[in-house]
Amino acid sequence: MNKRLLIAALLCLPVFTSSAETKVSEQILANGLKVLVKEDHRSPVVVSQVWYKVGSSYEPGGITGISHMLEHMMFKGTDKHPAGEFSRIIAENGGDENAFTGRDYTAYFQTMDKSRLEVSFELEADRMRNLKLLPEELKKELQVVYEERRMRTEDKPRAKVEEYFMATAYANSPYKNPVIGWPSDIENYTVADLEAWYQRWYAPNNATLVVVGDVEPKAVFELAEKYFAGLKPSEIKPLKPQDEIDQVGLRQVTIKLPAKLPYILMGYKVPSLKTAEQEWEAYALEVLAGVLDGGSSARLASELVRGKQIAVSASAGYGLTSRLPELFMLDATPVEGKTLWDMQSALKDQIAKLQKDLIANDELQRIKAQVLASAVYERDSAFYQAMQLGMMETVGLGWKKVDEYVDKVNQVTAEQVRDVARKYLVDDRLTIAYLEPQNIQSSTNGSTKKGDK
């Protein structure tokens, strides 16, 4: 098969697929609310998301996790719509809804039949300024969040490793804190803490409303005007920078937990697209992640899982959309008979190779092909498209970066990939966590026989 021909076919695709319907329309209301609308008429559905510029990386010590706690409390009612009403109304209108909190954002969403967009706007506008925080609701919801922490982190060895890892890798960047918050911080939130946090960040001039679906931008802007224009803006005080101090040597941490398999997690301090001195560095890191882990033909699967057969699994990842400097992460589980030390050497050999040799043209072309194809596949999901716009806007990159992505990745060269490997994937920027499994004591009783042990 002629490779050149295939790539040529792929390169033609953006032209083929782009059309007026992929355009984003933007309008900013007088109170500062930014409204983004993207038409997608493939099904009679609309996704509506409200993104607030606040997340765990905005939080000072003592109240870590409060953005996430507030996200939970946002379902607990206003004067107009008491606790439970929000969800009941959305459900009765056939909607799906939920919310999520990250390091750099808190977002709320509804997916509805296109005729019900107004229902979502009315409710979201109401809770943007009129949330009622009640002590008895907080008391119950605190328990829920604590259960969430137990479920997501406490009882999952690898999630705990990641938590310890982040706390080691960062000295003073707020990325050192878990999004859900530290246990004793969660235990001690007060209504006053939440009220202050809500007043400080929940305002139209600190939010982006993203709508993707079978809608007309003009009609959406009119609806947004109707429901959101009356909300008062706030004075949003700028965040303190909390710049991470320079790392000046390798950091290593051992974590002992009840577990069955050893595990290694490595992270190099690298810039995000927002913080990179030169933009191409972020795109080159993105390609580098693809070289290592962009599918089953990528190096980690091909050389470590198959090839040398040293890893049960191995992965690499980089997120270019963070507000603050990021970590380029590698993690792996060694096969039986191999140690974490063997695993670490193998991963570092992979890094060394990237610093020494240029990646093959085949690899670069494969990654570009995947990026081009993904740009088509992503458009299968209105929700995902809305996520991309909301996230880029909220971390301060601006939604237009979404449209640039394919082109920028396409411009990355093999030399640039080698250069970022040499510059950033060095020991002085590296943190390593080792999970040392401890014995799990378990036993069974009851009226039926035990399962498989």
Partner: protein, 436 residues
């Protein structure tokens, strides 16, 4: 965790499509059933080939279905694993494979540009027709599976799921974990996989699903080409009926976790169940509708006892599990279990109110289109209709079937089908024996 995955599939599958999605159906010369939907707007297609070759066909070799599926892309025809991966990835195609209790499937998402599409399709066709099952690949994948099975023992939810299926199904083919057990997987040989493949990966046992921007003629050629290398073979015998448990049971697994995982349930509903819509809508009210269900309100909203509390039916060829589950900190898990049981018992005894039923119907029918507003979801839906041989108008009549459900039909169906005297209860956590 399997339970949650099934619950998720159930949600996706159990909704309907707006009238635009027209399913076309035909049979190939070798006896494969083909289901095709033409969608426009994006130059891509989702293809699935589904076999009746899930873990329920493992026999005594628990895990053979899963490992057979895992080996498919490690060597086929003249290609090794690297070459196969390169062939897909160089054209931006996404290959997947996996199993459930009932099915083994391969999936391909690819662009429809001819040169790209042809290369991806040829690769998939070869994987299906000429998998190598090389000894070296087999040993490696087996070791990786064994490591995964070991890691499973770190997670209380996995242990709960395994015990739950065993309690519900005993020696029935649904009773063991789909990935197998350490002692059964250790004994497997490459020859066992080859035999499993030869028996079940045959044209008569295959369902082909094509959803995307291909013309009917292209879809016909695609289906024929995909299966051209497979012998006609024959369908396996139907799975045995599920025998209901004789009495309620309660099992606790002591585990050093912060939360206790609770699962309660029994064999519930199957795909062609005449009670299906009553059970589905009833469960939606009980614990299937996320933030507004009765369970969620009782356990989380009123008492703050858990982060998630939900219930689901997972209809399969035979009765799949009806599962009610939550996780709560060890010292209040029994209280949470009591609330769960009370909510369930009250619902079985009294059924829903008219207002609850009306709200549920509004939610289900009002959200009709958004349940599969992506090509991917639609393809999964069509695969479900095809594999389980549901009527082709299943989507068109879905809302109507939901509307016909009444308070009486729900109450009647739950009384007959969810007998509290037969419920199986599993707890995994550090609750301690004394708290039984």
């Amino acid at each position: 965790m399997r339970i949650h995955l099934l619950a998720f599939l159930f949600l996706v599958f159990s909704q309907s499509v707006w009238s635009a999605a027209k399913i076309e159906h035909w049979q190939t010369a070798q006896g494969s059933r083909v289901y095709y939907v033409h969608t426009e707007g994006l130059p891509m297609v989702d293809i699935q080939v589904v076999f009746d070759a899930g873990s329920a066909r493992d026999g005594a070799q628990f895990g053979v279905s899963a490992l057979t599926s895992a080996l498919l892309d490690t060597g086929a025809g003249a290609w090794n694993a690297d070459q196969i991966a390169q062939r897909f990835e160089s054209v931006g195609a996404l290959f997947g494979s996996g199993i459930s209790n009932d099915t083994a499937w391969v999936s391909l998402r690819t662009l429809t540009d001819k040169a790209l599409f042809d290369k991806a399709l040829e690769t998939l066709q070869t994987l299906l027709a000429k998998p190598a099952f090389n000894e070296a690949d087999f040993q490696r994948e087996k070791n990786r599976t064994l490591a995964g099975l070991k890691q499973r023992e770190e997670e209380p939810d996995e242990l709960a799921s395994i015990a739950f299926h065993r309690a519900l199904y005993g020696d029935h083919p649904y009773g063991h974990p789909a990935a197998g057990l350490i002692e059964t997987v250790s004994k497997l040989t490459a020859e066992d996989l080859r035999r499993f493949y030869q028996r079940y990966y045959v044209a008569a046992n295959a369902v082909v699903v094509i959803v995307g921007d291909l013309k009917r003629e292209q879809a016909e050629q695609t289906a024929t080409a995909l299966l051209s290398g497979l012998p006609a073979g024959e369908k396996p015998a139907p799975l045995p009926e599920v025998v209901m448990p004789q009495k309620a049971s309660r099992q606790h697994i002591e585990f050093p976790s912060k939360q206790t995982h609770v699962l309660v349930g029994l064999p519930g509903s199957y795909r062609k169940d005449p009670d299906y819509f009553s059970l589905y809508v009833g469960n939606h009210i009980l614990g299937g509708s996320g933030l507004v269900s009765k369970l969620f309100k009782e356990v989380r909203e009123k008492r703050g006892l858990a982060y998630s509390a939900s219930s689901s039916f997972s209809p399969m060829l035979r009765k799949g599990p009806f599962t009610v589950g939550l996780q709560s900190r060890n010292d209040q898990a029994l209280e949470a279990l009591a609330v769960l049981n009370k909510t369930l018992e009250d619902f079985i005894a009294q059924g829903p109110t008219e207002a609850e039923l009306t709200a549920a119907k509004k939610n289900i029918t009002g959200g009709f289109a958004l349940r599969f507003d992506t090509n991917k979801e639609l393809a999964s839906y069509v695969a479900m209709i095809g594999f389980y041989e549901l009527p082709l108008d299943y989507l068109d009549t879905f809302q109507q079937n939901v509307e016909q459900v009444t308070v009486a039909s729900i109450t009647d169906a739950f009384k007959r089908r969810v007998d509290p005297q037969l419920l199986q209860t599993i707890t995994v956590g550090a609750a301690g024996k004394s708290k039984q």
